[in-house]
Amino acid sequence: MRKRSRTLQSVENRWGVLMALPAILGFVMWNLLPMLASLVISFTEWSVVSRPKFVGLANFSRMFNQDPLFWKSLYVTAYYTFLSVPAVIIGAFLVATLLNQNVKGLAVFRTIFYLPSVVPAVANAVLWLWLFNPDFGLFNTVLTSIGFPKSLWIYDEKTVIPSLALMSVWGMGNTMIIFLAGLQGVPRQLYEAAEIDGANFIQRWLYITLPMVSSVIFFNLVMGLIGTFQVFSQAYVMTEGGPNNASLFMVYYLFRNAFQYGRMGYACAIAWTLFVIVLVFTIIIFKTSPAWVYYEGERR
């Protein structure tokens, strides 16, 4: 009996591995190997068409010591991330809370708020180019009609990043859906019990909703951070990194190095620096999470 179950288990194991093999192979071939290759390339000087030349840490030393544009791109990317991620999370959470109410036409509202996420990134960018246009754009028309001065939006060094962060809030659909699922998973009886005890709306939200969805916030925070650090298409389509390199995001800068300036080695070095930065931030969030994330059934 025991022997048979062991064989059954090993058969299952074998099949399990076999079934997962496409995914494993795919990961190894298309993710892991290229990543390792890029790590090796980051220690070389390589224009793809030439023979790679091993240069040790020269790419990294150039990046940190001699390249003001790298620091600019790091600053710009971090600035964008610290504006965009909280804005998206707060915005998505608020909208998800509203969409969790029992109102007429709920499905329509949910569709409308999710719709921007379905729009392709480039179409999205072109649309916002028009909204942001200082001369004919909707935003400036609204601003002037209520008596505010016009803004140059993405054409001004100072406002380009806040403008792009504003635009990112529009694409919060996916984050919002996850929040909505989290909100719907909060047990009703907790609210009912709190209500009987006389808790008002704010208290219920603060002491029940927030702790119960803190794990969802945690998830969205990590995913949002990883996603925004890799922001690219806005710079590529809308601003070309400008004005005056004020939207020179790291991924856009590494793209330029790799495919326009023929510096694949340097581009890989930037990519790995970005990877380490994202990793550090993710670790920080994970390490601090026990202090503010609540899991049901967790032993304290």
Binding site: V48, P134, G241, G242, P243, N244
Partner: protein, 447 residues
């Protein structure tokens, strides 16, 4: 069911087919196969395909596979090279070609030229050669000659009673140009700049429009005696008085005289040919290639050389065609290279207005000139405004020789962006650009 006879026929047919296909394979094995890569508009695609067909007719033993790459060209060529499957002949970006030549990815064609008198330095426009290795080697010339020039809508001039600009280079001074632009600009109420009540925020027709990337700007800087950098390509000159003055004069067109749209307005504008056609703009500074679209836009088109600040100058530019070093058939590749860069073989593109010919006789010999100048495409002033202009005052763009060209252009356009938005004066912006340029100026490929 098939009878015995039927199946025998089938077997016979199959055997014949097999023999034929083997035979075909044997024949095509003798054929030399070349890959030719290129980019461009749909029109260029058709013309290039025709050119290749003619080539294969002339050389039946060569079979050319055209590979059309309309976008991300360098990325794809890079991938082909990295995968060990490079093209034999093809176009290449100005920013890559000489770096690749130094790496040995692209062939030096001087050995072929020594053997073949049909291609010589004298046979093509002198500024079109991409030289490297201290000027001793060359990858060849542009695929087509292009210059920066002025196009205008004659109907707007006629209505405003403004004389057309002179077609001869050097006769149109900057001040006259500004006057012309003012006389053509008109706000919603029909007022001109300078008239009382002129509303610069609601302009119906602009006198002139120009892009703010390097090619429309540099000829004016040159014309004023300035430059982006010195002759050796080591010291920035963009912040020297001559350069700054030229930049400021261009900027004044937008913010002082209000005769040109701002860069943010340009973002919302359609292509230049539509702007001229719809009378949003009376004159445009653009590449000669724009003629293709302009000629089909249905208005009375005029052409002129760029106005002169101090000296007349004509900026010449164009992406090269090259032979890739990995080709297994250098002789056949040379034949294809020669064919693709011989003006008579791509005459349809020259006639359409998109390209200017490479071979010098098309600029000097009136009979040859008539082979490509086309009524309804090339306006009557074109001979003086473009042909004489490039022949007399043509100067190669720095893309022909500067190292780090892509980074240099990016540093210039980023550094001047606030200036073109009217938020910075020319000197401040140019000083910043000069600082950013310093580490990038690593000299020239041909020195």
């Amino acid at each position: 069911m098939l009878g015995k006879k039927g199946s025998r026929i089938i077997i016979l047919l199959l055997a014949t087919a097999l023999c034929l296909s083997l035979f075909a394979a044997a024949v095509s094995a003798e054929k030399v196969k070349l890959k030719y890569t290129y980019w461009g508009s749909p029109l260029e695609k058709t013309a290039q395909e025709e050119m290749l067909k003619e080539f294969m007719k002339a050389y039946p033993h060569i079979e050319v596979q055209p590979i059309y790459i309309p976008s991300d060209y360098v990325t794809k060529i890079t991938a082909m090279l990295a995968a060990g499957d490079p093209p034999d002949v093809g176009q290449l970006g100005e920013g890559q070609v000489l770096a690749w030549a130094e790496e040995g990815v692209v062939l030096d064609i001087t050995p072929f030229m020594e053997q073949d008198p049909e291609v010589s330095f004298e046979s093509r426009l002198p500024m079109t050669w991409y030289m490297y290795d201290g000027g001793k080697k060359t990858v060849g010339t542009n695929l087509a000659v292009e210059i920066m020039m002025m196009f205008y809508n004659k109907e707007i001039f006629d209505e405003a009673g403004v004389p057309y600009p002179p077609a001869k280079a050097g006769e149109w001074t900057w001040d006259e140009f500004v006057e012309t632009a003012i006389a053509l600009t008109k706000d919603r109420n029909g007022r001109r700049p300078g008239e009382p009540g002129f509303d610069p925020n609601n302009i119906d027709t602009y006198g002139v429009a120009f892009g703010t990337w390097w090619a429309p700007i540099l000829p004016f800087v040159w014309s004023n005696g300035g430059d982006w950098f010195d002759e050796e390509g080591r010291e920035p000159l963009i912040n020297k008085p001559e350069s700054v003055e030229a930049l400021q004069k261009l900027n004044d067109l937008i913010y002082k005289y209000h005769v040109a749209p701002t860069p943010t307005q340009m973002q919302t504008f359609p292509a230049f040919n539509i702007l001229l056609q719809t009378r949003k703009v009376a004159m445009v500074v653009d590449g000669q290639w724009a003629l293709l679209d302009l000629a089909q836009s249905g208005f009375k088109l005029g052409a002129a050389p760029l106005p002169t600040l101090k000296e007349p100058v004509c900026l010449e530019l164009g992406a090269p065609n090259v032979i890739f070093a990995a080709t297994k058939h250098p002789q056949e590749a040379w034949l294809l290279y020669k064919w693709s860069t011989t003006s008579s073989k791509v005459m349809s593109l020259n006639k359409s207005g998109l390209w200017m010919p490479l071979n010098i006789e098309y600029y000097t010999d009136p009979e040859k000139m008539n082979e490509w100048l086309t009524e309804g495409v090339h306006p009557p002033e074109y001979k003086e405004a473009a042909i004489d202009y490039v022949l007399e005052y043509g100067r190669r763009a720095p893309s022909y020789y500067m190292r780090n060209w892509e980074e240099i252009t990016s540093a210039i356009s980023q550094g001047l962006s606030n200036f073109w938005l009217g938020k910075e004066d020319a000197q401040t912006a140019a000083d910043k650009v000069a600082e950013a340029l310093r580490p990038l100026l690593q000299g020239r490929y041909d020195r």
